[in-house]
Symmetry: C2
Amino acid sequence: MNFQQLRIVRETVRRHFNLTEVANELYTAQSGVSKHLKDLEDELGVELFVRRGKRLLGLTEPGKQLLPIVERILLDTQNIKRLSEQFSQQDTGHLALATTHTQARYVLPVVVTRFKQTFPKVHLELRQCGPTEIVTLLRAGQVDIGIATEAVGGEADLVTFPFYQWQHALIVPDDHPLIDVQPLTLEVIADYPLITYHHGYTGRSRIDAAFARAGLTPDVVMSALDADVIKAYVELGLGVGIIAAPAYHPARDAGLRLLDAPSLFEINTTYLALRRGHYLRDYALRFITDCVPALSVEQIKAAVFPKVAIA
Amino acid sequence: MNFQQLRIVRETVRRHFNLTEVANELYTAQSGVSKHLKDLEDELGVELFVRRGKRLLGLTEPGKQLLPIVERILLDTQNIKRLSEQFSQQDTGHLALATTHTQARYVLPVVVTRFKQTFPKVHLELRQCGPTEIVTLLRAGQVDIGIATEAVGGEADLVTFPFYQWQHALIVPDDHPLIDVQPLTLEVIADYPLITYHHGYTGRSRIDAAFARAGLTPDVVMSALDADVIKAYVELGLGVGIIAAPAYHPARDAGLRLLDAPSLFEINTTYLALRRGHYLRDYALRFITDCVPALSVEQIKAAVFPKVAIA
DNA sequence: GATGCTTACGATACCCGTAAAGATA
DNA sequence: TATCTTTACGGGTATCGTAAGCATC
């Protein structure tokens, strides 16, 4: 048994049992992949994969039980690497974040700027993607920190910390009749064509819930992944936009007006998400405490490495 | 990085940084051990060991932080082996117990007999040793289950379950004057020369505590590791024995009488101890539930693999 | 001087990649 | 037929053990 075999096992599951893809992903020959799997099964004396003819279809029962152990070992090898880099190259290294457009574009710039001043030699990788993909990237160990409003809660293998809170607000052209309406109600809004986020993005579910609770069916004529796109179409007069309030900048968004609606929609909380057991460099911990000053490094470590260090 | 290097790191710490011993323990050449350590340090870019000249003296800070991760990885490799044996050879295998003389001699025979009938093909290894050594063996993964009254409580990396309760009692030759004394008190007993267990064995601390609480200083003329030795000297008339009550068999111990003293000494609890994160074969779980029928397999697993499966 | 660590060196075994053949969709 | 997996084979590398050279105690 060696690490390469374990990497192949993990990658085989991730790539849905296509050994050719596995080989490409691991930069090795496909024949070796095949042999490694067979060797491992021989050594353990157990079939790990369900086969039909020559094709792999899935995991056997022992394979299923083996997988989490394999993943933990590989996680620990990464931890060893990060741990030694922590000592060998204090403040240089790599920090990978996965986050949604809203955070990347409107919230993180301040934090990132400060971080880059403190750790100029840390390469910062900002991966922008959807909430569910953030979870995937965290699980795969491809990013250190995830930042999202949706999908990261309630996952047993992730740890989350509240980052900041925000609400949805309306955005309209600055000559729009809604500007003079007081008070703004869901009923009034529902009379206009609406433009807002896709399902699963930036609290869309909260918007739908608010209308549903009021017994209204809003006329969402367009949905987009990010506020910039929404703004563009609001500017064209295609409808009233509903975006995250932090996504509005008075200076940059000339010609548009933000209409706060504090009571209409639920408060959203954006979270920092970490993978349990994923070792974090000092600068990664610092990034987190920069975001949430109320947190201490010890609290973070205690949450990421629960209780006993398991072993 | 490979598994052999990690094994060498672990063993180097265990063998107090004597690489020659490490090589013997791992059945390999000492030169390779030396090279492996150097290679690993080179690969990680960190010195893991403190050296003076050619001698290794201890772990550096990064080495200290690395060690628990290394141990967890090696624990998981054992878990992989056990897990696959679980499937490849259902009811055959190896079960290693570490226990003290009292349990091995007087308590376990019943359980072991039943176990052997159920799992005739499982090789049962019964290692008899002192309480502190039981903890060491559990930690080293050399035994699956520890059974002891002392030393196993309060260790964060161990899980314990109460096995059974017992009390100390007096043992005397069957013509001894104490047989007719009613009620037995510590004061009365303290007038006789006593023979009992060594410190750290079979609840000796409870015996001392009982006399201390009563303001008495008993005259312990001999101490031994096990009840059989104590009995032998009681038989010779050298004193009154204090042994664990389960260690007395009326038939086998002809010529001796057990005098119960329910109120004199505290109740002792003997525990089953397991190492957290140590995978247990089905038959090992069965052994435990045989000992403690109130326990379910799920409860045991939940305690050994806490919360999230970490990974 | 005895013990313990490192380095050098040769044999072995392991791992990888190419290529051909067989199976599957 | 195109894709995918297995098997066979050769080259390269890593690992291991022996032996010699040094450092430490």
